[in-house]
Amino acid sequence: MIVAEHLSKNFANVHAVDDVSLEIRPGEIFGLLGPNGAGKSTTIRMLNNIIQPDSGTIIYDGEPFSDRVRGKIGYLPEERGLYQKARILETILYFARLKGVEEKVAKGRAMSWLHRFDLQGSERRRVEELSKGNQQKVQIIIALMHEPTYVILDEPASGLDPVNQELLREIVDKLRAEERIILYSTHQMELAERLCNRIVLINKGRVVLSGSVEEVRTRYGANNVVVEFQGDGAFLGELPLVAGGTVHANYAELNLRPEASINDLLPYLTDRLRISKIEKVRPTLKAIFIDTVGRSIEEVERSTNRTSTEAAR
């Protein structure tokens, strides 16, 4: 279990991370969610001991960070890079050696991983000869080669095609089944919703939501409505009884004000839209995310209007 308490980190005058606490338990996938610049990467770097927090503590299975702990962390950074001129197998073996894996063991594992990712026969090729997606597979292999207890994955799925995303999901599921401690950082809310047991959503360095996915969805708002329609639904966001939400071309997820109900909403819709479905739902993580980080429907609208007028000019 990783227990991080009251982590704070300032850069110059910016509170990159401000009093963040998390607890990642074995056998679960812990989602670290948040918009760009929220402080996710800084949090992850502190968990990796790449940078030290200004205040707060991190305890790994009861002990503070040490060289032993370092060897048990598997890390896939968000911004990925490999030595472009180096060969694939030797790159994997180099990082395995840094993690203290014996050469013989490492070789066997590397080959079976390459096979699993459909990269067999590429071990002598140079990294630069691989596509971006395949380079990413190599990095996933590097992160998992030493069979780490603590697995920290920063946006692992981005850049992978659907087939490999599915493969990645299987691998992560298997790691969970093996009772490893997994931190999964992502923007992809649908994925987080399906994959993660518990999440923490941070914004501007602070925790804004945390708990199990079910809990968060229930707690956040029981008053969400999904409308499927035909017609121009742009006005939906401006209705007085709508507190927030997202409007798409023929689909809207609206967060109604606490006192409002579907019955109150219906009269506004019937004469302006052809409704094919209206349903009360628990909000999706995506809806919660957008709502929480402050991009209300108005803001979305305004920015789309602005770009369209700019484009028209």
Binding site: I50, L98, I142
Partner: protein
């Protein structure tokens, strides 16, 4: 620090670079270029013309043509043909002016190299010689004729005065000067001063090339690691201190490899091509100072390598890397430019003072120990000074490195760098 990881990093740095095309090229090309620059022009300049050159003569005095022709045409090329063929343009009683006009035409038509016009200039009969040619800068031809005519003139005069020319030849025999280096050990070395000098000069040159090639590849790889974000993986798997020491070791291995290959090549070349006594004596004298040279070279190498690591960790783009390394390289070139002064006067005050500046110590002292061994205390003091500065630079580079490697994009200010160094 984890030794296994330092070793792994050193091994990786070494193997990746030693197999790179750039390294292999510089390994082979550097000695080739040094040889080319130092030896080939001398060889070429020493070689006479490859084929017979025809030179026109308009001798208004009428006294020089015959003996000059005789003398010059007796010089033979390896094939047996004469080096110079002289053509008399005044043959058949032609006037000097028309002879000159025709000779110039021939020269422009590239039938002859040029024309020597010999005319009396004063009442004593000292000739004035003019060389007219489309290519009047053929210095070899000019100096050959100049000395030949000068000698002929002396001979003619002496004959007029009734002096025996055989006696003259004996009188004007050349004197040869050889140098002997006297040292404290009481040995007399006759290896020739230039050879000794070259050893020191080559040492500082070699150091410069070593640092140049390995330093630049180090900075480039740091930039790659930063811009590719490989750094994130590396510092996740090891500590910055381990990373720096690993790189320093890998780099030193690279330097040693280069030095070894060049050393073997160099000594092989020397012993193979000229196994003379002079060379042996020279090698003996070189072995006597070799330990000092190696100490200065090793310390100097680590000193500069650490400087490169410190500076390299601060830059983020290839362009910045270019600028930063070229400044460092300039620091290296300064003492090499001083070399000629040092050789002529190794004890002069400011050279002795500059020898304590760690940036210059290795190069200056390497030249000093081979030209004139400085007092032992001076050698020890400069080594001590260099050692202390090297330890300091490695320490400071480590401080800068551990913070700078995780900074992407923004370049730190000088004040910030100072703060990193002070921070525990």
């Amino acid at each position: 620090m984890n030794r296994g990881r330092i070793w792994a990093i050193a091994r990786w740095e070494y193997l990746q670079k030693v197999r790179s095309k750039g390294f292999i090229i510089s390994l082979i090309l550097t000695p080739v270029l040094i040889t080319a620059f130092s030896v080939i022009p001398t060889l070429l300049a020493d070689q006479g013309p490859g084929e017979t050159q025809i030179v026109g003569v308009v001798d208004k005095t009428g006294r020089f043509l015959r003996p000059l022709k005789e003398q010059m045409e007796s010089r033979k090329l390896p094939g047996g043909q004469p080096v110079y063929l002289l053509v008399d343009y005044m043959m058949g009683g032609r006037s000097p002016d028309s002879a000159l006009a025709e000779a110039d035409r021939a020269a422009l038509g590239e039938n002859i190299e040029g024309t020597l016009v010999i005319q009396a200039s004063d009442s004593l009969g000292t000739p004035q010689v003019i060389y007219r040619s489309p290519n009047p800068s053929n210095f070899r031809l000019i100096s050959t004729f100049e000395s030949a005519i000068g000698r002929l003139n002396t001979e003619l005069r002496l004959r007029e005065m009734g002096v025996d020319t055989a006696a003259f030849a004996r009188i004007t025999e050349d004197v040869e000067l050889t140098t002997v280096k006297v040292s404290k050990q009481g040995e007399e070395e006759s290896g020739g001063f230039l050879a000794t000098f070259f050893a020191g000069y080559a040492g500082s040159f070699l150091l410069m090339f070593l640092i140049l090639t390995t330093g630049q590849s180090l900075v480039r790889s740091l930039v790659e690691e930063k811009s590719n974000r490989i750094m994130e993986l590396l510092v996740g798997a090891s500590t910055p201190q381990e990373l720096m020491w690993g790189k320093l070791m890998g780099l030193s291995g690279l330097g040693l490899t280069q030095l070894f290959v060049w050393g073997v090549l160099g000594l092989g070349a020397i012993t193979n091509f000229s196994a003379s006594e002079g060379v042996n004596a020279w090698l003996q004298s070189l072995y006597a100072v070799l330990p000092y040279i190696l100490v200065y070279m090793a310390l100097g190498y680590v000193f500069y390598a650490a400087l490169f690591i410190g500076v390299g960790s601060l830059v983020t783009t290839e362009q910045e890397a270019q600028v930063a390394t070229s400044y460092l390289v300039m620091l290296l070139v300064i003492p090499v430019a001083f070399a000629i002064v040092v050789v002529q006067n190794p004890d002069v005050g400011y050279i002795r003072v500059l020898s304590y500046v760690p940036l210059f110590t290795p190069s200056l002292m390497m030249i000093r120990v081979v030209t004139k061994m400085p007092p032992l205390w001076e050698v020890m003091a400069t080594i001590g000074m260099l050692l202390v500065s090297t330890v300091f630079v490695v320490w400071a580079a480590g401080r800068i490195f551990r913070t700078a490697i995780l900074m992407y994009g923004k370049r730190p200010s000088f004040g910030e760098i100072m703060r990193w160094m002070k921070a525990g």
